[in-house]
């Protein structure tokens, strides 16, 4: 199924501090950052908004430090995440893990497709792919590579 472009949805962000770099076109939120867009909530120590070259364009949002992404019953954790709202996906690295109900998945890189109830996990850097699915749990369409 094609991804949905979520960039038209507003994002609400709360944090302790913000450093806005007018020339570097970034806004860095830090300290108990909580960002919400539609049904997705991102918790992190730090969140960086990168503006695109085109005026008013948000190219991508990066989260660092104790990253936790919650969408209904799906939770993703990692130390780093890149959210591309136009592509409707989040790429998790740094000990990434996805939990959906009792099922879990971990590996080197996890790509989490927001509107497709689907995640892709790849191994690497000495981290094998591990997927644990409980027969009674809701089937999560976990692709592996």
């Amino acid at each position: 199924a094609a991804h949905k472009d979520r960039s038209s949805l507003p994002i609400a962000i709360k944090a302790n501090e913000l450093a806005a770099d007018n020339k570097g076109k970034t806004a860095i939120f830090s300290g108990k950052v909580v960002a919400k867009q539609g049904d997705i909530t991102i918790y992190a120590d730090r969140l960086t908004i990168n503006y695109g070259d085109k005026k008013n364009d948000v190219e991508k949002i990066e989260a660092d430090g104790n990253v936790r992404i919650v969408q209904e019953n799906r939770i993703g954790t990692a130390s780093h995440a890149v959210y591309e709202s136009k592509l409707g996906r989040i790429t998790l690295t740094g000990n990434p893990k996805i939990m959906q109900g009792a099922d879990t998945m971990s590996g080197n890189i996890i790509t989490y497709f927001i509107d497709e109830d689907r995640s892709e996990v790849s191994s690497g850097a000495g981290r094998p792919v591990e997927v644990v699915i409980h027969p009674t749990g809701k089937k999560s369409n976990a692709g592996t590579r």
Partner: protein, 193 residues
């Protein structure tokens, strides 16, 4: 021979004439004084020594204008160090690495000693690239080329808008740091793919 009665009469007339003359002089002087305009120093508030209309201040470094400030009115107190300004517009010149910045405010002060500027009331800051700050109080610290407030501040940068408490804006790097209670939003983009 002149009789004593006549002498007494002459003396009396003389005294009466003198009294009338004195009274006339006083009356004339009194009315004349009212016509004179009050001296300028008495029109200004007590602690103000001098007032200038459409005052212009500059900061120049290495021969280049860093900023220019225009105030509708500047009043100096006795010390002459601090100018109390009203209806202020402050322009920071564009540099090789940063665009121009324009600041307006209702009132403020300029210290010729420290070259610091304190801005109060409807402080509005706009950068050349369209970044906007609005707050009630801001201090420009000349030694650090830094704007600073501990007040509530509203900020807009492209689709990002926020309210925060406390801010520091480095004029040279044009980096702004918001210190507390950040409540921000990134508006959705208009285009749909």
């Amino acid at each position: 021979m002149v009789s004593p009665g006549n002498i007494r009469l002459a003396l009396a007339i003389l005294v009466i004439t003198a009294i009338i003359g004195i009274v006339a002089a006083i009356t004339l002087k009194g009315s004349h004084q009212a016509a004179l305009p009050e001296p300028v120093s008495r029109q200004l508030p007590q602690n103000i020594d001098m007032a200038i209309h459409s005052a212009r201040f500059y900061e120049v470094r290495e021969g280049r204008a860093v900023w220019e400030l225009v105030a509708k009115k500047a009043e100096y107190d006795k010390s002459g160090d601090v100018a109390n300004l009203s209806d202020i517009r402050m322009e920071f010149a564009r540099t090789a690495t940063a665009g121009a910045i324009t600041v307006t405010a209702a009132q403020g002060t300029y210290s010729s000693k420290s070259r610091n500027v304190a801005l109060r009331g409807k402080v509005h800051v706009v950068t050349e690239t369209g970044v906007i700050f609005d707050t009630e109080t801001v201090d420009y610290v000349a030694a650090r080329s830094l704007f600073r407030t501990s007040d509530k501040v509203a900020f807009r940068q492209q689709r990002l808008t926020l309210i925060a408490r406390g801010m520091e804006l480095d004029v040279k790097s044009q980096k702004a740091r918001f210190l507390k209670d950040i409540d921000a939003g990134v508006a959705g983009s208009k285009s749909h793919r």
